[in-house]
């Protein structure tokens, strides 16, 4: 028994570099953000004090309101459209009647291998060529660019949930007299809720900060929270940047709390 304990100890030692890395580059930086967000450096005396100034500034700058609104609208619409389009695709891919191999699934994921900036540029070129100009209808082109980019991320978790679904439940519902539509609404959709939630979180959260797509597809006319934080970099306004980041983190924390136990993190690793 004593020996065993010794060996368990020796294996946990392998985790030390990893834990040190996490502390140094995840925990400490997040603490710094919290501290920066709540501190204020007096420009004349250079004395750093605790203050809520950064937050007050974020919420009292009138030009920020359309940014928050645009971020929210773009994020929500992207999530909704991705699920509306991705759901039937995933359903058909997971259904043996329509698709027997993994190749089609792979084909849906494969564009992810080409850098998204390049893909976004390709989408922009195509849209301009068919008469959808980002200079004229930026919201439309942004939405197309976003949906195009995030669709694979929705298909994947939905597909894995639907594959795991117990098919006998479907048969049972039909034996009990449900027609196709009824068993779809009463069985398939409720059973795929975890997939929907994990797909939604996987799209919603990154859209908030994916300002490159918004810039390229919107001709730099639309600003989202991501751009706002990025612009603080250019002026080295760390305190305001931290306050904004903290707000974003809190929003995401609330969302993850509600989607919590249902959104499984494993879905993204199902790529392989």
């Amino acid at each position: 028994m004593k020996n065993k304990k010794h060996f368990i100890f020796s294996r946990s030692v392998f985790g030390v570099p990893y834990i040190v890395f996490l502390i140094l580059f995840v925990v400490v930086p997040l603490f710094i953000i919290v501290i920066k967000a709540f501190s204020f450096k007096d420009p004349t005396t250079e004395v750093v004090t605790f203050s809520l100034n950064n937050f007050i500034k974020v919420f009292t700058t009138p030009t920020n309101y359309p940014v928050f609104l645009d971020s929210l609208i773009i994020a929500v619409l992207t999530t909704v459209f991705c699920i509306l389009i991705g759901y039937p695709i995933a359903y058909l891919l997971a259904n043996k009647k329509y698709n027997k191999s993994y190749i089609l699934v792979l084909l849906f994921i494969m564009p992810m291998w080409i850098n998204f900036v390049l893909r976004t540029y390709a989408t922009r070129s195509l849209l301009i060529n068919i008469g959808l100009n980002p200079a004229e209808i930026p919201y439309v082109t942004i939405m197309i660019g976003m949906i195009y980019n995030y669709l694979p991320f929705t298909i994947l978790p939905l597909y894995t949930t639907m594959l795991k679904m117990d098919k006998s439940l479907l048969e049972a519902s039909q034996d009990l007299g449900a027609n196709n539509a009824q068993s779809f609404i009463k069985v398939v959709i409720p059973l795929s809720v975890p997939g929907i939630i994990s797909a939604a979180t996987m799209v919603f959260m990154p859209t908030m900060s994916s300002f490159v797509i918004v810039n390229v597809m919107g001709n730099n006319n639309i600003t989202i929270i991501g751009n706002l934080i990025q612009s603080q970099f250019n002026f080295q306004l760390w305190n305001e940047g931290s306050a904004l980041s903290l707000i974003l983190l809190i929003i995401i924390g609330i969302i993850s709390f509600f989607s919590g136990k249902l959104g499984k993190e494993q879905e993204k690793t199902a790529l392989w």
Binding site: L22, Q230, L248
Partner: protein
């Protein structure tokens, strides 16, 4: 029957839409026009430019194409190096944490969750502030840390399920038979979780190649990767030979996907046989 046809055509239509932008670039990679047109007919000029055929390009263009290739090399280098670092760090980390005490396991898991949920822009901001306050100037190391940070949780997430599947007695048996912990690790534990390690490495490379935000904010100003090169170009006008480059990239990706699938199909067969 009709339903089946409708279903199948929906899938293929969606696939066509997914690939439309890339196909669009591929088609126009065979034109020599600046814009998207075929005024000079079919031509391989863009490919000749891409492979630095001096006879059809100006000195300025030559330098720009070279910059594109440098950016591609940089993307590849950072993806592979960060992939290796993340796989080693995350691999040992996953093993170590998996066999640790419950409280530690829980704490690390919480940090991993927070890291996954944190938007990239916030991760970038937080580490850049750390670098600034420590007086570290941006360079390859900061970029590397950024990319490792980006991919590490996914490496760990690919390996942990394999650890869970493993028979815990195997390692103990190796020790009982006289293996030192390091030998047991090398001969028993690592071979068992190898598919997870491999998957984690590939995922890490994929995520790194696809990244823009962390790259742009942690790299040195003069260092360009494919993502930052294209992003800059979209503001100034993307050169037409990028079309030819996209075609090549697409072919490479296609080949890589095919190879990896053949490999994993073989692995799966092997797994079935050994059972």
């Amino acid at each position: 029957m009709v339903k089946k046809i409708i279903g199948k055509s929906f899938i293929y239509l969606m696939l066509l839409l997914m690939y439309a932008p890339i196909l669009f670039l591929i088609v126009y990679s065979f034109s020599a026009d600046r814009g998207f047109a075929f005024s000079k007919g079919f031509s391989l000029d863009l490919y000749r430019m891409l492979f630095l055929d001096r006879s059809i390009m100006s000195g300025n263009e030559y330098i720009k194409v070279q910059q594109l290739w440098t950016a591609v090399t940089n993307s590849f280098v950072i993806a592979v190096v960060s992939g290796i670092v993340a796989t080693i760090l995350g691999g040992f980390g996953a093993i170590g944490v998996y066999f640790s005490k419950k409280q530690l396991k829980y704490a690390v898991h919480t940090v991993e969750q927070v890291q996954i949920a944190t938007p990239e822009i916030v991760i970038a901001l937080s580490i850049v502030i750390l670098f600034v306050s420590l007086g570290i100037s941006k360079g390859f190391i900061t970029l590397l840390i950024g990319h490792v940070l980006l991919t590490l949780p996914f490496v760990v997430l690919s390996i942990v399920p394999k650890l869970k599947q493993m028979d815990p007695n195997l390692y103990e048996a190796a020790l009982d038979l006289g293996a030192t912990p390091l030998v047991a690790l090398r001969k028993v534990l690592i071979p068992e979780i190898l598919p997870g390690i491999f998957a984690g490495f590939l995922l890490s490379v994929t995520l790194s190649l696809d990244d823009y935000i962390i790259t742009a904010l942690t790299k040195q100003d003069t260092y360009e990767t494919l993502a930052t090169y294209i992003e800059k170009a979209t503001r100034l006008g993307v050169p037409n030979y990028v079309r030819a480059f996209t075609t090549l990239l697409f072919i490479v990706v296609l080949l890589a996907v095919v190879c990896i699938n053949i490999y994993s199909a073989k692995q799966a067969k092997k797994g079935k046989k050994s059972r």
